[in-house]
């Protein structure tokens, strides 16, 4: 099986017009669009088709369909998104997202998705944190499964070529400085054989970075592959300090610590309490938004009752539906100050609602707690705490086409930055991946159509990639070296301990030094076993990517000397609008191979959009 590095013609090669890396919602939607535009499309994924992280999305997809509240419009969706993102969002992306998500949701229905219904037989929408109207189209609490299956079936029906269980380890560039991307190199996990994809355009749709942390709702696949691949060829990453800690992950038992508890629990009326039984979210509402939330328990109950009956109400929403950054900080603070639950979380209670209603609206939460924690959520509270969930930062892209700052390289979904600013609203990721998956698929196909021939693939780069691929196994058979699992545990510990919800300069400096030491250990990594489905071997390359994104997060967090959205600095607790408002952090690979960290100004917002923000700006 070992490949002689010079024998390049032995490498299995699949030339395509558009190569999509990642088969979650964004990758599938991009592949469908590129295929519809007439491109020859290859869709590569590390797992089996249909297992990507989108499958775990629960609560719903945000779109101003106005089925439940006729007053909802794209303009209010735009405003909620910008306010939730602390005005750091790319305004054009937020605009396109708000305008186009209703059509993208209807399109799913036309492709066979079966959303829950309103009484008049249309797509039902549920309320969610930070959304001023009930806006999330959903299927119970398994919306992501419905979306990925629908997109998967559509892609299969269109005959998109799918390369399952294939890991991309390198992008191939056309050589020289500032060169474009002309393909990708990887290997089949099922055989260990290398594979080369010459491509006129490459779309990154690899999702997020959760595996940089110990406690995360993300699966093993979320190792920042696309972020690191883009960085390696000189593309800009923006806003990397903004990592979303979802307020409600499971905290017990240990094996499921971090597992997501959908925000839909709060959307359906779930109440957060501390160990003293106090409903603490009242104390954490930001002063300037307090007026949007219920003032009393009675008003909150009135709102919940109306929601469950599908009625409009003049009652305001419960305080638990504050934005995720705020609820996470609140829970963290309650636990740190000694008011947490027995296993280090707080209580989330939906059991005051009729059991049948809870089981119908939250079936997989009911199952999850019953099967994994022996808790019946219809009779008692859940224990929950913050968990690393999503990265707002990512590859800097053009709003219209998803093009990165490197020729031939595109990005969509979580791996792309800009759409969500400093904090993402729940439900906006599923709509993001539909809107920008489609735009990026179209953008990449159009770019590929302009490149009339397949570019020359540099054999030196391919040989280096093949050598790099084989190195950990060779070091393993030589018998010494570092265990990748051990380095990963140390990395996760550093990030969890020093670059978590609350940050301070001293910790971030320490993390930077620790990451430097971990990076130095990586080349000595050694893997036992063969090439066939060897998870330790696969981890080596994910680890390299995690080291890149962890450094990017830490350095960006160090640079931003203010608190905004998901980025909270203990030593800089205020939002510094004069110094940091409208400035994105930028990370790129410098000419000497070290990481450069700078800032750039946000794209200017047209006055028409600025007016929509009202008093918020």
């Amino acid at each position: 099986m070992t490949l002689a590095p010079e024998a390049l013609d032995q490498i299995e090669t699949h030339p395509v017009d558009v190569l999509v890396i990642g088969a979650g919602g964004a990758g599938l939607r991009a592949a469908i669009e590129a295929k519809a535009a007439g491109a020859k499309v290859g869709l590569v994924c590390k797992s089996l088709l249909g297992k990507a992280h989108t499958v775990m999305a629960e609560g719903g997809v945000a779109a101003a369909l106005a089925h439940v509240d006729p007053d909802d419009t794209w303009q209010t969706h735009f405003r909620d998104t910008m306010v939730g993102g602390k005005l750091l969002n790319n305004p054009r992306m937020a605009e396109l997202h708000a305008q186009e998500s209703p059509d993208r949701v209807r399109e799913l229905e036309a492709w066979g998705a079966v959303f829950d219904r309103t009484r008049d037989g249309r797509i039902l929408q549920r309320p969610f944190g930070g959304h001023s109207h009930p806006r999330l189209a959903h299927v119970g609490d398994r919306t992501g499964l419905e979306m990925i299956r629908t997109l998967q079936d559509r892609a299969v029906a269109m005959d998109v070529d799918v390369f399952m269980e294939c890991t991309i380890t390198r992008l191939i560039t056309s050589g020289g400085g500032g060169a474009g991307v002309v393909g990708a190199f990887g290997y089949w996990r099922t055989t260990g054989a290398p594979v080369l994809f010459p491509a006129k355009a490459v779309v990154l749709a690899t999702g997020g970075i959760g595996k940089a942390y110990t406690v995360t709702s993300n699966s093993w696949e979320y190792s920042g592959d696309g972020h690191a691949l883009a960085y390696s060829v000189g593309a800009d990453l923006i806003d990397m300090e903004f990592v979303q800690f979802h307020p409600t992950g499971m905290v017990w038992p240990p094996g499921v610590r971090g597992l997501l508890v959908t925000e839909a629990v709060r959307g359906e009326g779930g109440i957060l309490r501390n160990r003293d039984g106090k409903r603490f979210m009242w104390d954490y509402l930001p002063e300037d938004r307090r007026g949007e939330y219920a003032a009393t328990d009675e008003e909150a109950v009135k709102w919940v009752t109306a929601q469950s009956e599908g009625r409009l109400t003049d009652a305001r929403r419960p305080p638990e539906l504050s934005t995720r950054d705020n609820v996470s900080r609140a829970i963290y603070t309650e636990v740190r100050e000694g008011r947490g639950s027995p296993h280090g979380g707080v209580f989330l209670d939906i059991s005051y609602l009729p059991a049948e209603h809870v089981r119908r609206k939250l079936p997989s939460m009911y199952e999850q707690f019953k099967e994994l924690a022996d808790v019946d959520i219809t009779t008692g509270p859940m224990e929950v705490g913050p968990t690393t969930h999503y990265v707002m930062g990512g590859v800097r892209v053009d709003a219209e086409t998803g093009a990165s700052t490197v020729d031939g390289l595109f990005a969509a979904g979580e791996v792309a930055g800009g759409m969500h600013g400093a904090n993402r609203l729940g439900g906006n990721s599923l709509s993001d991946l539909l809107v920008f998956g489609m735009r990026t698929g179209a953008g990449a196909a159009a770019f590929a159509a302009r490149r009339t021939e397949q570019a020359y693939v540099d054999p030196v780069q391919v040989r280096d990639a093949a050598r790099e691929l084989a190195a950990p196994l060779e070091q393993g058979s030589a018998g010494d070296g570092e265990d990748p699992y051990a380095i990963q545990r140390d990395l996760q510990d550093v990030m969890q301990r020093l670059v978590g919800i609350f940050r301070v300069e001293r910790d971030l400096q320490e993390a930077t030094a620790e990451l430097g030491r971990l990076k130095a250990r990586w080349p000595g990594v050694a893997v036992r076993g063969g090439r066939v489905f060897n998870p330790g071997w696969n981890l080596v390359f994910e680890l390299r990517n995690l080291l890149v994104v962890s450094e990017a997060i830490t350095r960006s967090a160090l640079q931003r000397t203010e608190s905004r959205g998901a980025h909270s600095r203990i030593d800089h607790p205020e939002t510094d609008q004069a110094g940091w408002g409208g400035r994105n952090s930028v990370v790129r690979r410098g000419a000497d191979g070290t990481m450069e960290v700078t800032t750039t100004g946000l794209p200017k917002m047209p006055d028409a959009l600025r007016l929509l923000l009202g008093t918020a700006h």
Binding site: L48, K51, R142, Y485, P535
Partner: protein, 345 residues
């Protein structure tokens, strides 16, 4: 409210027939699970490796496999993703029963006995606990996709929640393929399979019962899909982690639709009178193992690759599993792939 010291989940305290509730008295956190894990790949002799894994509260089999990967055997091949029973990747056979390892609690077993973890037997082995499930993806491609009406604008589509609840049940499927694994029709036909299997009857039912789908898949179900092969033993329903009533709600109604169309004497006579010929079968199910996704060549699975044959564990499992669980009353399948599956009627 959770009690930190709750020793074991209540169901583990109920003694299985012929067994005793040995797990009950042990202190969690100090006990050890004895895992016997199938190791091997096609072409080389396989074996069972034993690992002693420290048990934490609430631990599931997948946690134990991860502990082995992280501490003893970094190359142990396991497929998994979400660890939350939402993606259906971590399917395996635990003490002979097809299960999602991410929701199989160690406390479901008598920890004094070894816990044997093996790959799904109905699919060709890749390595250790990972099998080649690409046949399923190929079958999926043969199903006619959702076909909405052309003459009704989408803005006018309306359907009530109660009209779609059945379809939503089918769409809960996470494609873990445990139902395919347990299906004796698929097990008995190792390569040329005349039957699409429960998973794809569920998918087809979701399309056929969609309120506005226009396609007619009855001939496909009868001929290529082989719906007649199912003899309603309900093994698939029993192993479904999503609790989809596969047999009662999907397969039997599809069988009835096929019977009404092709075996109803009045319909038959009517067709004869009208002179309507039976359309030729256009779709055929793929053959194992040469049926991966079109563009996913498998260098390790040449066409001559032998079908999955797992050796029996050296020490045969007890005929009545000594497991402190009330679930032990599930009919046990025979451990050879060709065995009869017990019928529940």
């Amino acid at each position: 409210m959770i009690e930190t010291n709750a020793p074991v989940e209540p169901r583990a305290l109920v003694a299985a027939p012929g067994g005793e509730a040995t797990a009950a008295g042990e202190t969690p956190g100090t006990s050890i699970a004895h895992l016997r894990i199938f190791r091997g790949e096609p072409g080389i002799p396989s074996r069972y490796d034993a690992f002693d894994v420290p048990v934490e509260e609430g631990m599931v089999v997948l946690d134990a496999l991860h502990w082995v990967q992280g501490n003893r055997a970094p190359d142990l091949a396991v497929r998994w993703n979400c660890k939350a029973a939402k993606c259906g990747s971590c399917s395996a056979e635990v003490n002979g029963r097809p299960r999602l390892t991410c929701k199989t609690r160690l406390t479901d077993f008598d920890l004094a006995e070894p816990i044997t973890v093996e790959p799904m037997r109905a699919f060709p082995l890749i390595r250790d606990l990972v099998t080649d499930v690409s046949w399923n993806y190929a079958v999926n491609r043969s199903i006619e996709p959702f076909t909405p009406p052309m003459d009704v604008p989408q803005a006018d589509w309306r359907w009530q929640q109660e009209d779609i609840e059945r379809v939503q049940e089918f769409r809960k499927c996470i494609e873990c393929f445990l139902c395919q694994d347990v299906c004796h029709v698929l097990r008995n036909h190792e390569t040329e399979r005349p039957f699409m299997g429960p998973r794809f009857l569920v998918r087809t039912a979701g399309l056929e019962m969609h309120p506005i789908d226009q396609a007619d898949r009855r001939r496909y179900l009868k001929d290529a899909g082989g719906v007649g092969y199912c003899n309603i033993t309900k093994c698939c329903t029993e192993v479904c982690p999503e609790h989809i009533k596969i047999t009662d709600n999907a397969i039997i109604p599809l069988k009835e639709r096929v019977a009404d169309e092709f075996y109803d004497p009045i319909q038959w006579a009517w067709r004869k009178l009208r002179g309507q010929p039976d359309a030729p079968v256009r779709t055929e199910l793929p053959v194992l193992p040469a049926g991966p996704m079109a563009a996913a060549p498998r260098a390790s699975a040449p066409e001559s690759a032998p079908p999955t044959t797992l050796p029996e564990p050296e020490a045969t499992l007890p005929t009545t599993p000594k497991r402190a669980s009330t679930r032990a009353k599930r009919p046990r399948r025979r451990s050879d792939a060709g065995g009869k599956t017990p019928s529940e009627g």
